[in-house]
């Protein structure tokens, strides 16, 4: 009986040894190295103004507009944004030349930056211009981050008059590519 007992104990011990385990060296400190670097694209602004909204006797005309722009209100976004690229495209099918000024305004309506884009008058052929990418890094990015409003100034150069029957549109579209680093 005693032998049986010893035997069963040794069997238990033998089986228990199977349950002893090992583990590879793990390093949980690595979580500190986590660094997300997502790149997002988003619309920045667009408009589509028909010639009929720009009725004009042929002289120079200026059309202003200001819109609220709250993208940088979020601290998380501001703090982790490292670079921004803005792309602009203008498609003009109106028989007048234009200059579009984009103004970055801060909360006090101070102009932080002005970017100008010129497009010639429509002459019957495709009149789409893609402008070189505006890259915001360093001090220029810091100015961008203070932006709370976007100002648009459309200046129509002198040319043939426009009336209710004039055709064509001035189309503007712009997209932003934002580079974030989240650590």
């Amino acid at each position: 009986m005693k032998a049986t007992f010893v035997k069963s104990i040794s069997k238990i011990l033998f089986l228990s040894s199977l349950f002893l385990s090992c583990s590879s060296d793990l390093d949980f400190d690595q979580t500190k190295d986590l660094k997300l670097q997502p790149v997002f694209v988003a619309n920045l602004a667009y408009f589509n103004v028909p010639a009929t909204q720009l009725v004009n006797d042929g002289s120079l005309a200026v059309y202003p507009d200001v819109t609220e722009f709250d993208a940088f209100k979020e601290k998380f976004f501001r703090d982790n944004l490292v670079k921004t690229e803005l792309d602009f495209e203008i498609d003009n099918t109106i028989i007048r030349a234009f200059r579009i000024d984009l103004l970055l305004l801060d909360a006090n309506d101070e102009v932080l930056e002005t970017d100008s884009y010129n497009v010639p008058a429509f002459s019957g052929t495709s009149n789409i211009i893609k402008f070189p990418t505006e890259v915001f890094e360093g001090p220029r990015l810091d100015l961008l981050k203070r932006t709370t409003k976007l100002g648009f100034l459309v200046t129509m150069a002198p040319g043939p008059p426009l009336d209710q029957n004039s055709v064509g549109n001035l189309k503007f579209k712009s997209g932003a590519t934002v580079y974030m680093v989240i650590e």
């Binding site: 049986t4 069963s8 069997k11 238990i12 089986l15 228990s16 199977l18 349950f19 002893l20 385990s21 090992c22 583990s23 590879s24 060296d25 793990l26 390093d27 949980f28 690595q30 979580t31 190295d33 986590l34 660094k35 997300l36 670097q37 997502p38 790149v39 997002f40 694209v41 988003a42 619309n43 920045l44 602004a45 667009y46 408009f47 589509n48 103004v49 909204q53 059309y63 202003p64 507009d65 200001v66 819109t67 609220e68 722009f69 709250d70 993208a71 209100k73 792309d87 495209e89 976007l150 648009f152 459309v154 189309k171 579209k173 712009s174 997209g175 590519t177 974030m180 989240i182």
Partner: protein, 466 residues
């Protein structure tokens, strides 16, 4: 710091195999086997578990990655590891932790000396956590949307539930004849803390189409909801208590209550051919305490700024629009959660008559006992995305009168080479058991996709010993 590592390692080891207790199931020399089949053919005059030590179990499971994949100290950049795991996971992959601790348990035979009716009871504490890999959202966080134009990131990938509860139960089983054992158990659940976010839907889409007036087409359709009970208090600024202490108190004394049942049977086609089936935790919890539900519901089409050059019809602020389109709402409604219901079934063939140490059979009844048993088991458990199904083959052997071993081989979503081992021995009246799952993984637990173990101590008093 070392202590923290240890806690983390243990926490990871605690993840488990979807609560499939395939080694315990129908291991009838362990009284706790009636917790996975209240109709198990368990018999005793009476038993009681050693408080807090009668049933300790923990399971860790992660279907698409192991602790090693994420934390290996091998010089590979952590971000690359995260990216690899996300790339190799699908939104059906999940991480699951289940831990149970039996606080007390006991059982006794009712009726006369020859009665075969038993009542058992007990209480245990349970922690359950289930999260699916939020693959689409992880990719969005890692890459952003620039390289995924035309893709809709699925918000339904956000799928998580967590609960701490205590369970008080009373069961009854009766051997109606030599062929049939029937049993049932009633359970009172008390949930101390619950967080449920399992019915999300929606998407984040960025497309590009030359004919649209804008550069991108950007739509966020969101139907996100997180329901919590027993947690809202802790998120308030003025809260100054101890969270673990308060959760423990709520779990036992001030929880949201629920009710559930277990039912099961054992049927002998022949002396050595046995069939069993059981259903466990068919029940619900009605969450009524300290409720808070947060939701983000709505659709937003992001256009960017749109000057009209028309001073009369000025468009509004673009971000105000977002908050109006997908408002963050908080409500305090009661809600009901269903317990993860488990279904087990087995078929067992026994062979090889065992030698008995008894000198004589004084009762004059002739019962054959077998030394070996082989068979198969099926396990199904309800889960939010799709049910968890596991198939097990097992071999059970009675080595000595008081020592039983069981070996299992299980196919499940976490592993197709899951070998489990269990032993149950009795010294005098002390029953001890140790059940371990996925033994092959113990040579390096950090690489295991799932690990589970259970052990406990009981005092069992049998008829023949009076």
């Amino acid at each position: 710091m070392r202590k923290l590592y240890l806690i983390l390692i243990v926490a990871f080891q605690l993840f488990g195999f979807a609560q499939n207790k395939e080694v315990l199931y129908n291991f009838t020399s362990i009284p706790q086997s009636s917790l996975v089949n209240p109709g198990a053919d368990v018999s005793y005059k009476f038993y009681f578990g050693i408080p807090v030590l009668s049933g300790v179990s923990a399971n860790l499971g992660s279907s698409s990655f192991s602790a090693y994949d994420l934390f290996a100290n091998n010089g590979v950049d952590f971000n690359d590891k995260v990216r690899n795991i996300i790339n190799n996971s699908s939104s059906k992959d999940k991480t699951h932790v289940n831990q149970q601790l039996e606080l007390f348990s006991g059982g006794f035979r009712v009726g006369g000396r020859d009665s075969q009716s038993y009542i058992s009871f007990g209480a245990y504490q349970e922690f359950d956590f289930l999260m699916y890999v939020p693959k689409d959202l992880a990719i969005l966080a890692l890459d952003g949307n620039r390289d995924h134009i035309g893709r809709a990131f699925n918000l339904a990938d956000l799928n998580v539930r967590a609960e701490v509860l205590s369970v008080f139960h009373v069961g009854f089983h009766k051997k109606l004849s030599e062929k049939l054992v029937l049993g049932g158990r009633a359970k009172l659940y008390s949930s101390g803390a619950n967080a449920t976010s399992i019915k999300n839907s929606g998407f984040i889409y960025t497309g590009q189409n030359a004919v649209t007036p804008n550069v991108y087409e950007q739509i966020i359709a969101s139907n996100l909801e997180l329901k919590t009970s027993g947690i809202a208090t802790f998120t308030k600024d003025e809260y100054e208590g101890s969270i673990p202490k308060d959760i423990a108190h709520n779990t036992f004394f001030n929880g949201s209550l629920g009710f559930g049942i277990d039912a099961g049977l054992t049927y002998y086609f022949k002396d050595n051919l046995q069939f069993t089936a059981s259903i466990v935790d068919l029940g619900f919890i009605n969450h009524t305490k300290d409720l808070e539900t947060r939701s983000y519901k709505g659709t937003y089409n992001y256009q960017g700024a749109n000057p009209s050059f028309d001073p009369i019809n000025e468009p509004g602020d673009i971000f105000d629009d977002f908050e109006n389109a997908i408002p963050r709402e908080t409500s305090y409604n009661k809600y009901t959660t269903w317990r993860p219901t488990k279904f087990y079934s087995s078929i067992q063939y026994s062979f090889g008559e065992s030698r008995s140490n008894d000198d004589c059979n004084c009762k004059g009844k002739v019962t054959t006992s077998y030394a070996n048993a082989v068979g198969g088991q099926l396990f199904i458990m309800s889960m939010p995305v799709e049910p968890f199904v596991a198939l097990t083959a097992f071999y059970k052997r009675n080595i000595f009168e008081n020592l039983d071993v069981k070996a299992t081989y299980t196919f499940d979503p976490y592993s197709n080479k899951n070998i489990g081992l269990g032993i149950s021995g009795t010294l005098g009246k002390l029953n001890m058991y140790l059940l371990v799952d996925n033994v092959l993984e113990y040579k390096d637990v950090s690489k295991a996709n799932s690990i589970a173990f259970q052990f406990g101590f009981n005092f069992v008093f049998q008829n023949s010993e009076d």
